[in-house]
Amino acid sequence: MARPLDALRDTQREWMINRSRLIAALVGIFALLLILVYRYYSLQITQHDDFLTQSDRNRIRVEVIPPTRGQIVDRKGRVLALNQPTFVVGVVQERSEDLEALVSILRERFALSEREVENFWERSARRRPFESVPIALGLDDTQLAMVAVDLHSLPGVVVDAQLTRHYPFANTLSHVLGYVGRISTADLEALDAERYRGTLHTGKVGLEKRYERLLHGMPGFQHVETNAHGRLLRVLEKEPSQAGRDLQLYLDLDLQRVATEALGDQRGAVVALDPLTGGVLAMVSNPSYDANLFVQGISYVDYAQLRGSLDTPLLNRAVQGQYPPGSTVKPLLGLGALERDLITPETTVRDPGWYRLPGDTRRYRDWTLRVRGGGHAETVDLRLAIAESCDTYFYDLAHRTGIDAMAEMLAPYGLGLPTGIDTTAEQPGILPNTEWKRSQLKQAWYPGETISAGIGQGYMLMTPLQLAQAAMVIANKGTSFVPSLVHRVGDLTVGGVPRAPIAMAEEDWQAVVAGMVDVVHSPQGTAAFISDNITYQMAGKTGTSQVVSIAQDAIYDEDSISERNRNHGLFIAFAPVDKPRIVVAVIAENGGGSSAASPIARRVVDAWLIETEDA
């Protein structure tokens, strides 16, 4: 065998083969190494800036610090709407040793419902283990105290505080303040998304909505570093938020309470204005509701109940309720007629207890028909007509004036137009004329309707606020201000905007005011019964507005008419007469007559002039 030689030769050859392959491998490795180095070079040097930005974007998150909403305080600085810390008890899954046991403890502690516990489990399935999953929401201090005492013995339980709008006086002020609620998709379209990042609530109704822009404030921002799971690690940079502006109202909490109590269970509204500024001293609409219900989201059942109620508690009657003004419109008609020289204070009308248009058989009843049968007096002048609320006098006046001129006369007192008060959903009422009826009802105006308009019936509608505004014009003898809830926003005064004045002779004002004083202070006055022990001079005017029209010659019988068809009672007043400090309008829905309204006004004026030291 040639083994040794073969082997020797083979070894040499094998070595050559191995060497050539080694060189090939070396070349291969070098090529791959070059590709690798080029790849890292391209990532780390060429695209470095892009990746650096991306890694920063990965870890740095901009968080919004929502602003603190401005407070609302009354004229004496008492807080009516504030931001209260409410507490949310949550569970961090990764920190609790026995989640089931912990949940059953908390369930017992907070008396949680089956549904709430179910919600918790649903939520906890979606959250990351280090995130807090809320289990009990909206807790106050005392409820929190129950869990906080032994918090240390319950690992995994965390308590977060958040500021939530709170209305400490609940029902008393809901119609004035309105409320905030969760931002809806519809809200989002109207709001500036940047300013509302991180904010859950926005004003929905009333002052809260009207002053939303000022109350809200500006959000701040902080740059925070987070890890891949979103856990916050540290704050890198912070720009604090700017709190919203505070609102100071003209409203007096005490007076508001008095008005609320005076109204009692009576459906209706009370508006009290400061005649020197137009500021709203009190504004009550009954029934009311608890605005706090809306803040965290009202339950479907509660909301359905509020919406479905015949008593319409969500309606702010003071600005949204529209009623025939009834006889409260008479002083305004008198003033308008004096201004246009259609009458003088001495003009008299014969009153047989009814009125008939010339050439017509229809009789228009005077309200005295049932009581006295014979009318007010042989002859009635303006003062007596107002004091005793003589219908015949104003039937005659209305007939002589005509509806279009009447509308022109009443317009400067604010009828048929929104007052412009700083709240939402104000209604304009109706000041009818022939043009209005043609465009709205596509009908011609009938002369009989002019007669009804003379005593504030028919198509004419006014809100209680419009009534108060008109009373303010009389109280100030021509000057008046746009009614305003808010006095100051921060340091800036926004109330007290003057309305166009009405220039008229002093005697003309005096004639009407004298009649209104007689309403309260004269024995024949329609509200004479409220003047017991009165220590100041008050001017007023009663009104009754029909809910159901009564057939000609029929006599309105209170007892035979169901409660909701009874007449509304109205009353406007101001006092003291020589230097008025308060104007009041009251409506008592289905109160039967003005006697349901006038004592309420007396009570409110008493409170303001006598019981309140504020002068």
Binding site: E14, Q54, S55
Partner: protein
Amino acid sequence: MPEYSRSLADSHQGFARPKTPAERLHLDLVLLLPVIMIMALGLFVLFSASDSDWGTVNRQLRNFIIGFGVLLAVAQVRVDTLQRWAPILYLGALLLLLLVPFFGVGAKGAQRWLSLGFIRFQPSEIMKIAMPLAVAAWVVRGGLPPRPSVTLVAIMIIVAPAATIAFQPDLGTAILVAASGVFVVFMAGISGLQILSATLVALAGIWPAWLFLLRDYQKQRILTLFDPEADKLGAGWNIIQSKTAIGSGGWSGKGWLQGTQSHLDFLPESQTDFIIAVLAEEWGFRGVLCLLALYGAAVARGLWISFSAQTSYGRVLASAITLTFCVYIIVNMSMVAGILPVVGVPLPFVSFGGTSIVTLMFGFGILMAISTEKRIISR
């Protein structure tokens, strides 16, 4: 192989010089030095990747010490002993691999481990060592270059365990195991024509492999490579985050322990397969180059050992081990950098994990044995 033929080539050196301690321990210091430096560097990176956890670092240090024990032990074994025992080792490893589907325990949907009660091990790791030993033993038997029939059998020796491992499924290990066998065949000197035809067969195999062999998640990984943005938070997440980590490191890096991608948990598997991204983020491009230089030194020494080995078996084996080591580095760094699909290949001596270190050190022990063999023979 006859004894005297081996002694001839090396008979001119080593007579007069007294043996150094390293020589007495069969250690090749030139190879050992870069390995130790890589390990030291790796510990620093691991300390950062584990959020300054000494426990992890200590465990890795323990892995290194065990690895050195293995290396030291293997270095003492004569190369012809390895050659003799290679077939048995291979068959034993193959048997264990075949047992895995029946007795194996698994994690994350893959069955890779065998348990003896007190110890769990991966037969595929044993195969990483057994494969080059066995294939080399087979191909050098009939002299080089191997005849086509020998090559064909060699390919079967390679494919059998590689396919078994791929089915576990563990694509990364399968690739490494197959590569170590293929390198032996390559080094043995099969002709260019054979290489070409093998390459064509492999390319032709891609389509059926895609259809029948690859699992959905494996296909997903390959597709993700081409468009990581397609599934940003899912399959693409790892690769987007690792590229971001590497790229944001720049030339000089964010500083040791300062990497935001790794410390804020954006980077997945930051202690194991993706650890190069931590190094690239914190130490920058220059850190990557340093590491590559150290690897280069080890690889160069490995190839030098192959070049100067006394027997064909030693040469072929040393190259195969060194080239497989290169595959580890290139595959790992490429997949983290987004130019290869994500397969489970650790970065040698840097990624945390005892198994890969012990396997690697076993291989380096063989290199030591080959490197020091000439001196033993020359005695």
